[in-house]
């Protein structure tokens, strides 16, 4: 069964009198365990695609099935619940809560699904440890380097055992060396832990870490091919 299955997914934004087709009948299938990079210039529709896949936005038309369940048009709270259980987000700007420890940042998704405080703490610690952040639990984001902050964000994305990791330009704010470290981390997560990863980037070097590249232009998929290593 496919993890992600979109069927002629379209998103149309009204702009003044006219409208913009940000997504134009996109049909994509992603199987569990894949590592997919989404590429394209800005305005190509890749961000809109990620927002719809991430249940942050609703499509104007077309179908979207996540783990076989139709999640195309749901109310806010239903979408919030799907995000909580099925999707881990990693953003370009890390998006950690300021003035909040690494541990509590990782606990955040579990605040919204009824896991008790002790269990929350335990799972968050384990997740941080897995990402090599043991001993940094009490640090606030401003006390951590960019690479460490992004690893905290990845720990947060992993902690709910979500089947899908969505990474939106995760290395955009990092230097080359750290970018490589983070990408190797994603590769490891994909290969060893079997996590499905959807990565948005405009850098070919970064996309090269993935197993499959989907290119967007003007709201359409213009190419979809595996990466030869």
């Amino acid at each position: 069964m496919a993890l992600i299955e979109t069927d002629r997914l379209s998103k149309i934004y009204p702009v003044g009198e006219t409208s913009v087709r940000a997504l134009d009948e996109v049909s994509v299938t992603v199987r569990p365990g894949e590592f997919v990079a989404i590429m394209g210039p800005s305005g190509s529709g890749k961000s809109t695609f990620m927002n719809v896949i991430g249940c942050l936005d609703e499509p104007t038309s077309g179908g979207y099935r996540l783990e076989g369940v139709d999640v195309g048009r749901r109310d806010r709270d239903a979408l919030a619940e799907i995000r909580n259980r099925k999707i881990g987000f990693v953003f370009q700007g890390f998006n950690l809560l300021p003035r909040t420890s690494a541990l509590e940042n990782v606990e955040l998704p579990m605040l919204y699904n009824g896991i008790g405080p002790k269990e929350r703490r335990r799972l968050a610690r384990a997740s941080l440890k897995m990402l090599g952040l043991e001993g940094r639990e009490k640090h606030h984001p401003n006390q951590l380097s960019g690479g460490q902050q992004q690893r905290v964000a990845i720990a947060r994305a992993l902690v709910n055992q979500a089947p899908l990791i969505l990474a939106d330009e995760p290395t955009g704010n990092l230097d080359t060396k750290t970018s490589v470290e983070i990408m190797e981390l994603f590769v490891k997560l994909n290969r060893d832990a079997g996590r499905t990863i959807l990565l948005v980037t405009h850098e070919p070097d970064i996309a090269a870490f993935s197993g499959r590249i989907i290119r967007f232009l003007d709201g359409r998929v213009i190419s979809d091919e595996p990466v030869r290593h």
Partner: protein
Amino acid sequence: MQNDGAGAEAEMINIPATFRISLRALRANKMRSGLTMLGIIIGVGAVIVMLAVGSGASRRISQQIASMGSNLIIIMPGSSTAGGLRMGAGTQSTLTLSDAEAVARECTAVADVAPMHTGAAQIVYGNQNWATGIEGSGPGILNVRDWTLAAGRPFTDQDVRSATKVCLLGRTVADNLFGSADPLGQIIRIKKIPFVVIGVLAPKGQSMMGQDQDDTVIVPITTAQRKIFGTRLPGMVRHIVVKARGTDEMAAAEAQITELLRERHRLTPREENDFTVRNLTQIMQAAEQSTRIMALLLAAIASVSLLVGGIGIMNIMLVSVTERTREIGIRMAVGAKTWDIRLQFIIEALTLSLIGGVIGIVLGVTGAKLLSVLAGWSTVISVLSVLLAFGFSGLVGLFFGFYPAYKASQLNPIDALHYE
């Protein structure tokens, strides 16, 4: 997952964690939180002080009513008319001692009667002297005014009939003339006439008008009339104070007295009363009522500042929602639902207002105590008024926190995440 409806959401909301988040957000902006709370602190403090002052005043009046005696009716002589000018109540002498006796004898709703003849005089004991009020009355006075003797004995009907020179001293008078010595059996001089002190009254405190009720000497009315003050009209009294048998017999007593006195004064149905019967307790209760209304009015005005404090909370919460748009976006991205976000901001507003409320209560209670210690105002802090103020500040937080919380929960997660 598909089956998770609204019912499952409620139990998902994590109150203790949400509360910690709120506290942290408030701590992050200590100055701002403090200033926002100040509105609530002042509002709650003002409400508490006003309620304390108000109920202090009305309790004081109730005490004075009680100290004056309960179920009192006062009979005043009627007004005299001189050349078309009516001179006001008490200008005509129409009430007699025998009227008083008749009321005591014949009105069934009346418990006791005290005819009064009052005046002021200088009294002397040894080398001490003191100016005070002299109240000439009958033995009924103690019962009528709910007065007890601290020492000695009351005077009797026999004392009244033979106008004996005996007296009862109020506490203030006894203290001023005798100090710590025992006044019983001593001889004092009122207008140079020697009187035997046969009793000392238990202290009563101030009257409604602020008079010291213990600054008095009570003598038999006949003695007052004939020996101390003299009178042009023997047998006449200034007024008569009557105690009814019970609160529900006040009206009956008034009717019986009016009927009896009209009959005794031989008034034809066309003639007006040559006396006035007043229900004293009712007058006092009206005063108490108006004090209470005044207190409520003060508290209502004070609660306006609580309202203003609430608007301050709403203002700051709206700023806070805007500032933390990105945080809201992050929370939404990781799965916070509508009510998770709402509750976070409502609890934040509630925390502000309740902490402000507690500080306001402490300040209000302290302020009320200071007022009573420093300014001598009587204040009463009731548990109810404290609970009321606390509950009201909570309601203010809830009410003014809801709109910002609602606004936060309606943000679009994508826009919120990319908010700079």
